[in-house]
C-alpha cells in the first residue's frame, strides 16, 4: 500500500495545529527507513494534499477523500494499472480583494493523491459520489483478486 508524495514543508507549516498529521508523517518516515521507499509513490506538483481513508472489502476498495468546497466537475479520477489517482483543483471563486481578507487557512489550488492498490481492479466499474465535501470512490476488485472459498469434503 503506498501513498502519495510527502511534503515536509507543509507539515511544518501546519504544526502544531496538525499534530495528528505530524504523527502520520513520522510513522511514514519510519516505514520508509525500514522498508525502503515504496514503489508507486508519486511526487507531483500539487499545492495541497487532501486527507483520505481507504477501506478494503472482499469485493472492493472504498476510498474517501476530503474535498470541501471543491466543484465535482473539477475532480478527475484516473486508473493506470493498479494505480488510482485523484486530482483536481479548488478555485477561489470569490472576487473579494486581498486586503479584505483577515485570514486564509483553507487550501486552494491543485491537489493530487495516488494509491497503488494491492490487487487487480475493475477499471471500468469505478463509481464515485460527492456528499458534504467528501468524495467516496468505490473501486471493485477484479474477479481473480476476490477471496475464494473452496469447500473440501471430508470423506
Amino acid at each position: 500500500m503506498s501513498l502519495v508524495r510527502w511534503n515536509p514543508a507543509r507539515d511544518l507549516a501546519a504544526w502544531p495545529s496538525d499534530l495528528f498529521g505530524m504523527q502520520r508523517e513520522i510513522n511514514r518516515m519510519f516505514n520508509n527507513i525500514f522498508r525502503g521507499s515504496e514503489e508507486g509513490e508519486e511526487y507531483a506538483l500539487a499545492s495541497w494534499t487532501p486527507a483520505v481513508d481507504i477501506t478494503e472489502h472482499d469485493d472492493k476498495y472504498t476510498v474517501k477523500v476530503e474535498l470541501p468546497g471543491v466543484n465535482k466537475d473539477e475532480v478527475k479520477i484516473t486508473v493506470e494499472s493498479n494505480m488510482l489517482t485523484i486530482r483536481g483543483e479548488k478555485k477561489q471563486e470569490k472576487e473579494t480583494k486581498k486586503e479584505n481578507y483577515h485570514r486564509v487557512e483553507r487550501s486552494y489550488g491543485s491537489f493530487q493523491r495516488s494509491f497503488t492498490l494491492p490487487t487487480a481492479i475493475l477499471n471500468d466499474k469505478i463509481d464515485a459520489a460527492f456528499k458534504d465535501g467528501v468524495l467516496t470512490v468505490q473501486v471493485p476488485k477484479a474477479e481473480e483478486a476476490k477471496p475464494k472459498q473452496i469447500e473440501v469434503k471430508v470423506k
Binding site: 499534530l19 481513508d53 481507504i54 470541501p68 468546497g69 470569490k94 481578507y101 483577515h102 467528501v134
Partner: protein
C-alpha cells in the same frame, strides 16, 4: 476605524485535541477557516467536510462565535481500514467577536462541506460617504 481593527482579531488559537468522550477518546479537530470582510459584513468560511448540516451547531454571544459538529460516524462497512487519515472526529472552533456585529442577523449556510457564516456589520461600522458642505 478603531472598531474595525478590533474585529479583525476574530480568531482564537486553534489546535486539534483528543478528549475523553462517551465511547473512549474523541478527536476534536479545529477546522480551517477563511475570514474576510465586505462593505456590510464579516464572512467566515469553514471547511467541515463529512459533517452533515444537521450535526452542526452555531452559537453566538456578544464575545464569541462558536461552531461545532457532532462526532462523525465513519462506518467502514465491515471492511478493513488500510489508510486512516480522516477517521472519526468532530469539529470545534471559536471566534472572538468585536463590537459592531448585529448578533440577531447572523446567517449561516452549509454546502459541499463548507460552512459560510455571515456576520452583518452594525451601521456604525459601515463606511459612509461624507458630503462636503
Amino acid at each position: 476605524m478603531e472598531n474595525n481593527k478590533k474585529n479583525t482579531a476574530l480568531v482564537r488559537a486553534c489546535c486539534n485535541a483528543v478528549v475523553p468522550g462517551a465511547e473512549g477518546y474523541e478527536m476534536v479537530v479545529c477546522p480551517a477557516a477563511d475570514i474576510y470582510e465586505t462593505s456590510d459584513a464579516f464572512i467566515v468560511e469553514i471547511d467541515m467536510p463529512g459533517a452533515s448540516k444537521e450535526s452542526i451547531s452555531i452559537t453566538a454571544d456578544a464575545r464569541m462565535l462558536s461552531v461545532s459538529s457532532l462526532q462523525m460516524i465513519n462506518d467502514s462497512g465491515g471492511g478493513e481500514i488500510i489508510v486512516n487519515e480522516i477517521g472519526k472526529k468532530k469539529y470545534h472552533r471559536e471566534f472572538r467577536l468585536g463590537t459592531g456585529i448585529k448578533l440577531d442577523d447572523i446567517r449561516a449556510e452549509y454546502k459541499d462541506g463548507v460552512l459560510l457564516i455571515t456576520l452583518p456589520k452594525a451601521d456604525e461600522l459601515k463606511a459612509r460617504q461624507i458630503r462636503i458642505q
